[in-house]
C-alpha cells in the first residue's frame, strides 16, 4: 500500500465518520471532530511561528538590524500578561493599539469603499425599470429599519414593502445556501468515488 493511498484512506475514513452523524451521534464522529480541532490548532501555531514570528520579526531583527520591530514585538509579548492577574492591565496597551488601528482602517474602508460607491450607483439608473425597483427597494428597506416612529399609515405601507424586499433577499440567500451545502456534499462524494474507490475518473 502506497503512502498516497494510505493518506486518501485516512481522509475517506474521516469523511465517512463525520457523515455518520446524519444517522446518529457516535464515537467515530466525535473522534473525527476532535482530531480536526487539534490538528487545526497545531497547524495554525506552526504557521504563525514560521510566517510571522520568524519571517517578520526574528529574522529582520537579527539579520537586517530592523530594530523598530522591537516595538511590535514588545506589544505582542504584552498580550501574554493577561495570564498574570497582577500585570494583566499591560495587555490593554496592545489591545488599544489593535482597536485604534482597526477602527481607523475600517472607518475609511467602509465609507470610501462600501457606502459611497453603493449610494452613488443606487441612483445611476433612474430611467429603467431595474433602476426604479432598486430605488424603491433601498428606500423601503431603510424605512423598515427606522424605528423612531410607529409603522402606521404611509410609513407602515412603505415599511411593509421593505419587508417584501428583505424576504426576497432572504429567499435568494437561502437558495444559494442550499446550493453551497449540496456542493460540499458533491465534493466529498467526488473525492470518495474518484480518489478513494476509483469508480469514476
Amino acid at each position: 500500500m502506497s503512502w498516497e493511498f494510505f493518506g486518501v484512506t485516512v481522509a475517506a475514513f474521516f469523511t465517512i465518520s463525520l457523515y455518520s452523524f446524519l444517522y446518529k451521534d457516535n464515537s467515530f464522529y466525535k473522534l473525527a471532530e476532535h482530531i480536526f480541532a487539534g490538528i487545526s490548532a497545531g497547524y495554525y501555531v506552526g504557521l504563525v511561528w514560521h510566517s510571522v514570528i520568524k519571517q517578520q520579526l526574528w529574522l529582520p531583527l537579527m539579520n537586517e538590524g530592523q530594530y523598530l520591530l522591537i516595538i511590535p514585538g514588545i506589544l505582542g509579548i504584552l498580550m501574554f500578561t493577561r495570564f498574570i492577574s497582577k500585570i494583566s492591565w499591560l495587555s490593554r496597551l496592545s489591545l488599544a493599539f489593535v482597536v485604534g488601528n482597526t477602527a481607523g482602517i475600517t472607518l475609511i474602508r467602509q465609507l470610501h469603499g462600501m457606502i459611497l460607491p453603493q449610494v452613488r450607483s443606487t441612483f445611476l439608473d433612474l430611467a429603467t425599470l431595474t433602476g426604479i425597483v432598486m430605488i424603491v427597494g433601498v428606500i423601503s428597506t431603510l424605512i423598515y429599519f427606522y424605528f423612531s416612529k410607529e409603522h402606521k399609515g404611509a410609513l407602515g405601507f412603505v415599511a411593509q414593502v421593505g419587508i417584501w424586499f428583505i424576504m426576497i433577499s432572504f429567499g435568494a440567500s437561502f437558495g444559494y445556501t442550499v446550493m453551497a451545502r449540496v456542493s460540499l456534499l458533491i465534493g466529498r462524494a467526488q473525492f470518495l468515488l474518484t480518489n478513494w474507490l476509483h469508480i469514476i475518473k
Binding site: 510566517s51 467602509q110 462600501m114 460607491p117 444559494y176 449540496v182 456534499l185 458533491i186 465534493g187 467526488q190
Partner: protein
C-alpha cells in the same frame, strides 16, 4: 379524503434520515452515470472570462486563494480554471493567500499541477507569495511595496532574486486581481485595494457569498463574478476546460429538483394538516 390526510400525516412524521438517504443517492448516481444536463452561462461569469481574455500576453495577474479546505468543491475548480486560462494566455501570475488553515497547501498543489501542465517556470512565469498574517495590513502594505510585506516567497526565496518580482513592485504593476474567496476577505480586496489603488478585479466566491457580492458588480467595483460551483462550472465551460465543477452540476440539478419537491410536499402537508385540524 381520509386516506389523503393520513398520507400527509405520515409524511409529517417521516424519519429525516430517509431524506438524507435520498439526497445521498441523488448525488452519487449522477456522478457515476452522468446525464450531461445543459449548463447555461450567466453574464457575470462571462464578463469575468472576457476580462481575462482581454489581457495581453505578459500581463501580470494576482490570483488569490482566500479559502479554507472546507469549501474546496466550490472554490478549487475556480482556481484551476482561472490558472489554466491565465497560463494558456501566457499571463504572468502571482499567487497569494490571506487564509492560514490549509489554503497554503491547496495553493501550492494547484499552482504546481497547472504550471507543470503548461510548462511554466517558477520565478519567471509565476511566483507563489504564500501566506501572511493580518489581511488588512497585508492588503494595504502590498499597495506600497510587496517586498515589505513578503520579503520572501512561499519557498523562502528572497523576492528580489525572482525575475518576475523584479518588475512587480506594488499594485501599479498588476493588471488584474482574480480573487477566489469563501469569506469576508473579498470585501477587503474591494474596499481597500480597489477603492484606494483602483486595481481592476473580479471574484469567484462560494454560493453563500454570491448574493452579497452582486452589489459590487452594480457599482463596477468588480468586473465579473463566479457564484459557487455553478460559477466555477460556467468558467470551466467558457474556457473549454471541463473539470470537477462541470461534473458536479448533474447531481446539483437533481438534488435541487428533489429539494424543491420536498419543499412543496412539506408545505402542502402543513396546510392540509392545518385544514384537518380546522385552524
Amino acid at each position: 379524503m381520509n386516506s389523503f390526510f393520513k398520507i400527509f400525516a405520515q409524511l409529517k412524521d417521516i424519519d429525516r434520515r430517509y431524506i438524507f438517504l435520498l439526497i445521498g443517492i441523488a448525488v452519487i448516481l449522477p456522478l457515476i452515470f452522468p446525464l450531461g444536463l445543459p449548463l447555461g452561462v450567466t453574464q457575470p461569469s462571462k464578463s469575468l472570462y472576457e476580462k481575462v481574455e482581454s489581457l495581453k500576453e505578459g500581463s501580470v495577474v494576482l490570483l488569490t486563494f482566500d479559502y479554507y479546505p472546507s469549501t474546496l468543491p466550490e472554490t478549487e475548480p475556480m482556481s484551476y480554471a482561472a490558472l489554466r486560462h491565465l497560463f494558456r494566455k501566457n499571463i504572468k501570475v502571482i499567487t497569494v493567500t490571506t487564509i492560514p488553515l490549509g489554503a497554503l497547501s491547496v495553493m501550492e498543489s494547484v499552482v504546481k499541477n497547472v504550471a507543470r501542465e503548461y510548462d511554466k517556470k517558477y520565478g519567471v512565469d509565476y511566483v507563489n507569495l504564500g501566506y501572511k498574517y493580518g489581511y488588512q495590513a497585508v492588503l494595504l502594505g502590498m499597495g506600497r511595496k510587496i517586498e515589505d510585506i513578503f520579503p520572501m516567497d512561499a519557498y523562502s526565496n528572497k523576492l528580489e532574486s525572482l525575475t518576475l518580482m523584479q518588475q512587480v513592485k506594488n499594485y501599479n504593476d498588476i493588471d488584474f486581481i482574480f480573487i477566489v474567496s469563501d469569506n469576508a476577505t473579498v470585501d477587503y480586496w474591494i474596499s481597500l485595494v480597489n477603492a484606494q489603488f483602483g486595481t481592476p478585479m473580479g471574484a469567484g466566491v462560494t454560493a453563500i457569498m454570491a448574493p452579497k457580492c452582486y452589489s459590487y458588480l452594480q457599482t463596477n467595483q468588480m468586473v465579473g463574478l463566479l457564484g459557487g460551483m455553478k460559477g466555477a462550472a460556467e468558467y470551466e465551460k467558457l474556457s473549454s476546460n471541463p473539470g470537477k465543477a462541470m461534473r458536479g452540476m448533474d447531481p446539483q440539478s437533481i438534488v435541487h429538483f428533489l429539494i424543491i419537491f420536498f419543499v412543496i410536499l412539506g408545505n402542502l402537508g402543513y396546510f392540509v394538516t392545518l385544514k384537518k385540524e380546522g385552524v
